[in-house]
């Protein structure tokens, strides 16, 4: 009796098309979650951290629009992959990869931690150069440590077969 009920519960939604709708709904939710995750990475690594450091040092940091689009694309792709594959072992390298990618972009955007600026004052030109790499490396290291812990939290969640 129990077996028959179970069979009905599986067969019926498939036949009625509800099962397909549920799968599509799940995928859409995961993609939306992934896009949000990618946007969060983008905001942290490409907006908050560079702008904060630019504001502190008073040296403007500009990122060309074409690079912003490429970086954003990568972040969104990794965010979506991370979200869809969250319950599979492949999520471990993807999560680490997304944090490493963020760190790498931050490193590139901040010119390896060397910021330069020039201020013309009448006939005098004042140029300054500051090396903030100790701070940058610390941010990258902490980000990677967090990435590893986040990646291995896969073992703490239920897994889909």
């Amino acid at each position: 009796m129990l077996k028959v009920n179970k069979l009905n519960s599986i067969v019926e939604p498939i036949n009625s098309g509800k099962h397909d709708i549920r799968i599509i709904k799940t995928i859409v939710v995961k993609v939306v979650y992934g896009v949000a995750l990618g946007l969060i990475y983008y905001i942290i690594y490409l907006q908050i951290l560079p702008q904060l450091l630019a504001r502190i040092t008073q040296i403007p940091i500009t990122i060309p629009l074409n690079k912003i689009i490429v970086y954003l694309g990568f972040f969104l792709a990794l965010g979506i992959a991370e979200s869809i594959l969250r319950k599979y072992p492949i999520s471990i390298p993807i999560k680490i990869l997304s944090k490493m990618f963020g760190a790498l972009i931050l490193f590139a955007v901040l010119n390896g931690g060397i910021l330069e600026g020039t201020i013309p004052l009448g006939t005098v030109i004042i140029s300054s150069r500051i090396n903030i790499s100790p701070l940058l490396y610390t941010i990258i290291l902490i980000s990677l440590i967090y990435g590893f812990i986040d990646a291995f939290s896969y073992f703490a969640i239920g897994h889909e077969k």
């Binding site: 005098v124 030109i125 100790p134």
Partner: protein, 128 residues
């Protein structure tokens, strides 16, 4: 297990970043809000060498900021003046320069120091 670990890493990481960034934040906030707190140079001619071949200049470094600056050096007319650790106060050095070089004094001044011994900074002033 992983959630407390994540919160722990974020908390400790944020504290480390704040501690590391604080000298940078304080230094730049001070010099932006009060430019007198940035390292300043005052150069004056105080005499001549005994053989009257060179001019003796007194270079005063005035610093009113709260963040210590280390490895402080200035290159003026090709002469390197090393001040080492600079805290709030006035530091003096004397340098002998050629008569002919005096007019180039404001042409190029180079300053190098490390903010709190962590962040190397260079300032290059070029005039006409």
């Amino acid at each position: 297990m992983f959630i407390p670990l994540k919160i722990g890493v974020i908390t400790i990481g944020t504290l480390i970043i704040l501690a590391l960034a604080s000298p940078l934040v304080i230094f730049f906030t001070e010099i932006i809000t009060n430019p007198e707190k940035s390292p300043q140079l005052r150069v004056e001619q105080i005499g001549y060498t005994e053989d009257h071949q060179h001019v003796v200049l007194r270079v005063e470094l005035i610093y009113n900021g709260t963040v210590p600056l280390t490895d402080f050096k200035i290159i003026l007319l090709g002469e390197e003046l090393y001040f080492g650790i600079v805290k709030k106060g006035v530091y003096e050095k004397e340098v002998n320069v050629n008569f002919s070089d005096i007019r180039d004094l404001s042409k190029e001044i180079y300053m190098y120091f490390k903010i709190a011994g962590i962040y190397p900074m260079e300032i290059h002033v070029k005039g006409e």
